[in-house]
């Protein structure tokens, strides 16, 4: 994963959750950040706009951490490029 992609994902989380930028790292879990299921889908919604991708519901259900979110986005971007 590129640092740029990680920074953009963290940026979206910080913005939608109104968090201090230094409080979110690639290793933060949703539990640590107090992100619940409604926050989670709200972040995914913002990520879809940021990266112009569609995140499928089934994939969305599995995501529990910032890293999983960034990895998911990376996969979707790769799929989009090869399409």
């Amino acid at each position: 994963m590129s640092d740029e992609l990680i920074a953009r994902v963290i940026g979206v989380i910080v913005k939608t959750q109104h968090l201090a930028p230094e409080s979110v790292t690639i290793d933060s879990s949703f539990e640590q950040l107090k992100i619940d299921s409604l926050d989670g889908i709200n972040i995914l919604f913002a990520l879809e706009s940021e990266f112009d991708v569609d995140i499928p519901d089934d994939a969305a259900r599995q995501i529990r951490s910032v890293r999983e979110m960034a990895e998911g986005i990376e996969k979707l971007l790769a799929a989009k490029q090869s399409a």
């Binding site: 619940d36 299921s37 409604l38 889908i41 995914l44 919604f45 519901d57 089934d58 969305a60």
Partner: protein
Amino acid sequence: MTRRVAVTGIGVISAAGRTRQALWDALKSGTSAIRPMVLVPPGSVRFPNGAEVPGYDASLEFEPKEADLLDRFSQFALLAAREAVSDSGLEFDAALKESAAIVTGSCVGGKSTEDESFRGLYALNNTRFSPLSIPKVMANAGASRISLEYGITGPVYTVSTACSSANHAIGQAFWMVRNGTAEVAIAGGSEAPFSLGMLKAWEAMRVVSPDTCRPFSKDRRGLILGEGAAMLVLEPMERARARGAHIWGELAGFGMSSDARHITQPSAAGAARAMRATLIDAAVAPEAVGYINAHGTGTTMNDPTEIEAIRAIFNTDKLLISSTKSIHGHTLGAAGAIEAAAALFALHEGIVPPTANFTEPDPACDVDAVPNVARTLQVEYALSNSFAFGGLNAVLLFKKS
């Protein structure tokens, strides 16, 4: 004054069809009425299926002028009320008109009308709205139209508590009839949420299944939205018996609670408190309940939470728990009313409706969910659960008559 309350009329319009009998047939045969949606363009939302009223044509039901004045959700409310009142055989004379109540539930009101008007404004650059917009969109339009139909001038209002709306409405009407505030009542719920704007909002919630609704199944993938209405006629048991009315069952208890925990995540504690309150209201022991028509949306979170709540009160070894949302979809503000009809069907016919589309048991929902095939069983009491977004819970208890 405390009176026993009988259900003497039932009217239903649902994905199963235009009548109560159509729902009965689907419940008995376990036929799911979930199909590809036709009310919105294919591909416009992630999920292709819904539980729409099949082949509904307002022009066959209403005079053109009347059809223009009523949003689809009010049309459903009126059609269900007409079937229920006709079924009850009640005649509204001058005294009864004044003492009757109407309480309806609706989650979103006239969304189709609203969506169409806003599209005109934002997309088509229309500068004017139809003057019928407001009277069509208001959530009480169905209740008001039923009041006009029968000249009912007693307490008439609408309750909006998302997916618990109809249970709250029926419960309030029940209490009014029980304590003598109203002599009889027409109560239920109606909903018509198949507008593109509404569906896009549901899509964003990521709780709608991409295929079908499989409550309590291990491979469940979410709820399926539905539309329709159901209305019940409630009247004092003595009055019903005195006039020789057909009695579908008795409405024995109503209870409600608020989770006060999270705006969308369900809470087992809150759900359990509503069920317990209902049993206390009816002065009935948990052991007397033989069937629960579950809220059972088929979402990852609802189903195990609901089972946990049920287990906190009931011995589930001797209990049948099915979700008929697998048959008629999740009709939001109409859900409690259509499911009340299903619970009354179970008591009256001695047939417990199944959970359709069931594939594989989920250890987290390890109960007898009556998979796919209806069960012949005489049940004394049936409970019907509704738990809403916003953490608002409403539960009804019905007794066999």
